[in-house]
Symmetry: C2
Subunit: 136 residues, 2 copies
């Protein structure tokens, strides 16, 4: 049974895509902790950090840095949390290796572990396009 | 003015070291969020993810995976949070790129953002030695 993220990779489930290359995909979290909350995944399905081949850990890390820079340019937050959870006890919900980028603003009281509910799909698509346009 | 982590790299400030190679260093957080909370740093001083050369982002990611595996073997937690904060608004305290590995146990109510106070230095050294011995 393919994970929900594998079904996003194949296009079976739609997503607001920010960036895609051979090994990685970035798209907006539909249940964001803050405006601009983006996920970076390894296209191949591995449950967590312990399972991913090191070269793909590197590929995801590189893409995360590039997307983080594009988010800074686009949304100009005051900070960013990069979070990757392994195991249900650590708050992992989808067992397909993924990294969260959570933009932060001064005094926002946001926690990367607390979600604000479903975002408007059109707003997510607009954010994805803006951030994607700032990828280098 | 060198960061506190640069002073740990040079040995000016002592630390409970887990692992060291050319570009990266892993040591126990003295103010842990949970037992086994470990930091992975880039030895060269860069403030955050946006500033680190991509090859060093990769090096830190590889070391993080190896230390995470050793923590799983050594302490057998139920999960792990990997967290990297950028900017004071995101909870960053030391402006020298570093990744947190926070072991988690079922029902522990731990947040990677809440610390439990100073740990016993001798216990930290014992943990560092145990985890370091399980590095591959």
């Amino acid at each position: 049974m393919a994970s929900i993220f594998s079904r996003i990779v194949t296009g079976e489930i739609p997503s607001a895509k920010v960036y895609e290359d051979e090994h990685t995909l970035a798209f907006m979290d539909i249940n964001p902790a803050s405006r601009g909350h983006t996920l970076i995944i390894c296209k191949e399905e591995y449950p967590g950090l312990l399972d991913v081949p090191p070269r793909l850990v590197e590929a995801v890390a590189r893409t995360t840095q590039r997307v983080a820079r594009a988010i800074m340019t686009t949304l100009q937050p005051d900070g960013l949390n990069i979070v990757q959870n392994n195991g249900a006890a650590a708050g992992q919900v989808v067992f397909h290796y993924h990294i969260h980028i959570v933009p932060r603003w001064k005094g926002d009281q946001v926690s990367p572990f607390s979600r604000q509910g479903k975002a408007d799909p059109q707003e997510l698509q607009e954010l994805a396009t803006m951030i994607g346009n700032n990828m280098h």
